[in-house]
């Protein structure tokens, strides 16, 4: 079983991100369970959502405490919460920021993860550019597919299309692809420089 935890703030589409990820996994024939951390819904308040993916029926109903993948939609959360709590030491970390890990004081935590398992993505900037509003969720799902094999980019794009029909969906799909390409290019560049 594979477990994903998504942190963000109310209004950033955190719950929708977990749901779209579960749809992407479903499209690949897997069992998936997406659920929010149940709180009072307020704009700006910290929100957590979860997604489990497995090859068989998922019976477990506890919140995800030891995620294999952690997606952080708002880097300011690191100041108020222990966002990294429970992250699998072999897991993956994806943070929405247009700075690098050192600038947001995460270089220590990143160094403890395997090489290439932590990535940044300027998802809010990409969302403004492609969608016209600062909703970073679809960009981050796209970026996730560039450095993990949780789900394929094509499945994420189909999940976005099902969630947001029409032009909104198209813009979000373009955003996800751009984020994927950005992270992929960065990884390719690193691999080349190491070769």
């Amino acid at each position: 079983m594979f477990q994903v935890r998504i942190h963000g703030r109310g209004g950033q589409g955190v719950v929708t991100a977990a749901e779209m990820l579960s749809v992407a996994a479903f499209l690949e024939g897997k069992h998936a369970q997406a659920f929010p951390s149940f709180g009072s819904e307020r704009m700006g308040a910290p929100v957590v959502a979860f997604c489990r993916i497995a090859d068989r029926e998922i019976r477990l109903r506890e919140p995800i405490q030891t995620p294999d993948v952690l997606i952080v939609q708002d880097a300011t959360l690191f100041k108020s919460l222990d966002v990294l709590e429970g992250l699998n030491p072999r897991g993956h970390l994806l943070v929405n920021t247009n700075r690098d890990f050192a600038a947001i004081h995460l270089d220590g935590a990143v160094a403890r993860l395997p090489m290439g398992h932590a990535q940044t993505c300027p998802a809010t900037d990409l969302a403004r550019q492609h969608i016209g509003r600062p909703a970073p969720n679809t960009a981050l799902l796209g970026a996730l597919t560039a450095f993990t094999d949780v789900v394929k980019l094509s499945s994420v794009m189909e999940a976005i299309a099902r969630t947001f029909p029409g032009t909104v969906g198209e813009a979000n799909i373009a955003c996800a692809r751009a984020a994927h390409d950005l992270v992929r290019q960065r990884l390719d560049a690193t691999e080349t420089s190491h070769a």
Partner: protein, 428 residues
């Protein structure tokens, strides 16, 4: 068709397939997306021949359902938590009048203190109202139970509550099979009321009944429920045959054949318990589970049979009767009354007001119950330190203030200290 869909939406779609003719709802917190979902299906014509009535309160929602049902319509509504309590008088009336209304209860806690999260307090508060109460283990079953509920309610002419864990199921998005209309129609025939208000054949429903007949009318309510066990099992078997999966029935046993230690629980927590049992079985621990689907009528005979070989029974309650303990534990104890070699009964209260119930905590609980059983109810993951501080503080002054606010203050202070320590460690 298999879909990746939110529990509430899957229920809404399935309820629509049951062809309700009147749906009344008061769409305010506490509610789920269910009535919103069926509302959309009525508006876009997917659910034809159905009147969707927005009412002014939960009391009105069920009152309108009572009127609609008495007039011969298949009536549905949904509520949760305080909403159920606000309609309490109508809940008893629907049962007393024998009107087969189906209602979803998105189980949530009841205040005070104010809390919007999941537990079974609402269902337990009205367990003696005369409704049939069915508890869903999964979202698939939550959807399926509605199809069974309409059939059961209408065959018995007793209202039926489908209890679904709020948030844990209602807000989870999962793989759910939404059945074909044809199969639902084959299982659930059109509503044929046993009593109906009809201007062609005038009569009244809801007479004033004095001491000379009240007991007899009430006894018939009891008789109807006590003779419904076989029907509940038959409807579940017929469902399995037609839909190709298990839903409903009185209870389900999991690895109980050779189990000396058996857990009894209701609702979605059974999924997590099964995972714990699998892990303990891998260690050769003889542990099993009875997942209770039908809470009212309470299946005493079926429970006795399911627990016949158990030496210890641990009952998990997601509700608390402050003057007694766990309501489900109290009910299971009645099943053991006058029984030779009755198993030892242990009670645990967990998941109150949305507290997550983890595999780790359950595993610890089961192991402790085996080697070191306790007296009275055990409160899972109780923060003893906070309790001790608050009890100590209350002992010192009469005007000790509200417990809820005081405990929140203690927790807030602890969180702030932790955050400060983390910041200092991060800066070092």
């Amino acid at each position: 068709m298999l879909e990746q869909i939110e529990g509430s939406k899957a229920m809404a779609r399935t309820i629509a397939l049951c062809r309700p003719q009147v749906i009344c709802a008061y769409p305010i917190t506490p509610q789920t997306h269910i009535v919103e979902g069926v509302g959309e299906l009525v508006r876009d014509g997917t659910l034809a021949n159905c009147e969707f009535i927005n009412v002014e309160s939960e009391f009105a929602a069920l009152s309108v359902a009572i009127g609609a049902s008495a007039a011969g319509a298949r009536a549905y509504t949904a509520t949760a938590s305080q909403g159920l309590l606000f309609m309490a008088e109508a809940v008893y009336n629907a049962a007393g009048l024998g009107l087969p209304i189906v209602m979803t209860l998105g189980n949530r806690a009841i205040g005070a203190p104010i809390n919007i999260w999941n537990d079974h307090s609402d269902a337990m508060a009205l367990r003696e109202s005369g409704w049939i109460q069915l508890f869903a283990e999964t979202n698939q079953e939550a959807a399926d139970l509605h199809i069974i509920a309409f059939r059961l309610a209408e065959e018995l002419s007793v209202p039926t509550m489908v209890c679904v864990d709020g948030f844990i199921l209602t807000h989870a998005m999962e793989r759910i099979d939404i059945p074909d209309q044809k199969i639902v129609d084959a299982y659930l025939p059109p509503y044929e009321p046993v009593q109906v208000l009809d201007v062609e054949h005038p009569m009244s429903i809801g007479a004033m009944v004095g001491p000379d007949a009240f007991t007899e009318v009430r006894y018939l309510q009891y008789y109807k429920q006590q003779t419904s066990f076989r029907l509940i099992e038959t409807l579940s078997q017929q469902f399995a045959k037609l839909f190709g999966r298990v839903a409903g029935g009185l209870l389900r046993s999991y690895h109980t054949e050779d189990a000396e230690f058996v857990v009894v629980a209701m609702g979605s927590i059974n999924g997590t318990i099964k995972d714990v049992i699998d892990e303990m079985r891998a260690e050769d621990i003889a542990i099993g589970l009875v997942s209770l689907v039908t809470f009212r009528p309470f299946p005493i005979r079926a429970l006795q049979e399911a627990l016949a070989h158990a030496r210890d029974v641990l009952v998990i309650d997601k509700a608390l009767d402050p003057g007694m303990g766990g309501p489900l534990a109290s009910n299971v104890a009645i099943a053991f009354r006058n029984m030779d070699d009755a198993p030892n009964l242990h009670s645990a209260i967990c998941g109150l007001g949305g507290r997550p119930v983890t595999k780790a905590s359950l595993s610890r609980l089961f192991r402790q119950a085996m080697v070191q059983p306790w007296e009275g109810p055990h409160f899972l993951d109780l923060n003893d330190r906070v309790i001790a501080r608050e009890i100590h503080r209350r002992g010192k002054a009469r005007r000790a203030g509200p417990a809820a606010e005081n405990i929140l203050k203690i927790l807030e202070r602890e969180r702030a200290e932790k955050a400060r320590a983390r910041a200092e460690a991060g800066g070092a």
